[in-house]
Subunit: 150 residues, 2 copies
Amino acid sequence: MSIESDINQPTFRNEYQKAIINLIYSYNWTTEQLKNIFGNENLTMQQFNILRILRGSDMPLSTLQIRERMLDKMSDTSRIVDRLILKELVKKITCKSDKRLVDVTITNKGKAVLAKLDTHEDAMENIIRSLTESEAKILNTLLDKMRSSQ
Amino acid sequence: MSIESDINQPTFRNEYQKAIINLIYSYNWTTEQLKNIFGNENLTMQQFNILRILRGSDMPLSTLQIRERMLDKMSDTSRIVDRLILKELVKKITCKSDKRLVDVTITNKGKAVLAKLDTHEDAMENIIRSLTESEAKILNTLLDKMRSSQ
DNA sequence: AGATATTTGTTGATTTTTCAATGATACATT
DNA sequence: AATGTATCATTGAAAAATCAACAAATATCT
């Protein structure tokens, strides 16, 4: 279905305006599917994102380092980490060498939750399987270029 | 800049996984720019979206009709409309022919706010001007196809 | 007509996000 | 060493999003 009929807007100013709106709509569509997949583990997308980042790092990360790697840079990383601590999925201690920083690491319980979700990786990718792999590649190229101002 | 370096993740499972993550990241990047543009009018993206929908309709719309046209279908349309009423940008009355429905319309004040933002339409599109118009068109095609499950 | 189901919109309670302000530590300069 | 500046993380307060429950009006069925 085209974006025009999806949101009941027959015309756009141009392809640029349409692309911006299409991007927002497609993001919402995609995350809607994603939430169904890992909502079973009672994780928000942000929490999931942080867990993945921590697992992917071979050393503890500071709050700032986590935020830099997050998909949503405006996240309130500090509080999301605290929520993950409540769930015992991560732990943090103040950094020895620089007491301004905290060392955040994923716990075994956190790893177990991710391991469970790993079994759904195929399901996540299937969300956009109506694209061929080479189309997905073009999409990636265009998105990267889109963000390269100047 | 590539998504790999943007989020400090050197590899992905495949182009599909990368595309999903790229989409989320690119959405956040884009909305970040957008917020700067119409944040001056103290409107959230959802409020802006509803105002545009109402202006684009030649008749009053019900809460449900608005939600159907919104980019984020999960929105709490009812409360967002109420916030817009507080700002006197829209008004609503219960529908004569079906008292379950409400007729929501944009006010002159609401139109004035949008008119102000119309002067920034070019700025909005410039966000993704590093794409050529035909690239933007391909992006639109791919996003539409991406959402067509089966 | 009367009972039941569906549609539509709102509300309550909780969680999350947002933006600005604060506090603590480290760094730089004199 | 003392002062000022920068960095990093947290907190407070307000706004917004989320999820489930609810109520009213309409539609459907017997």
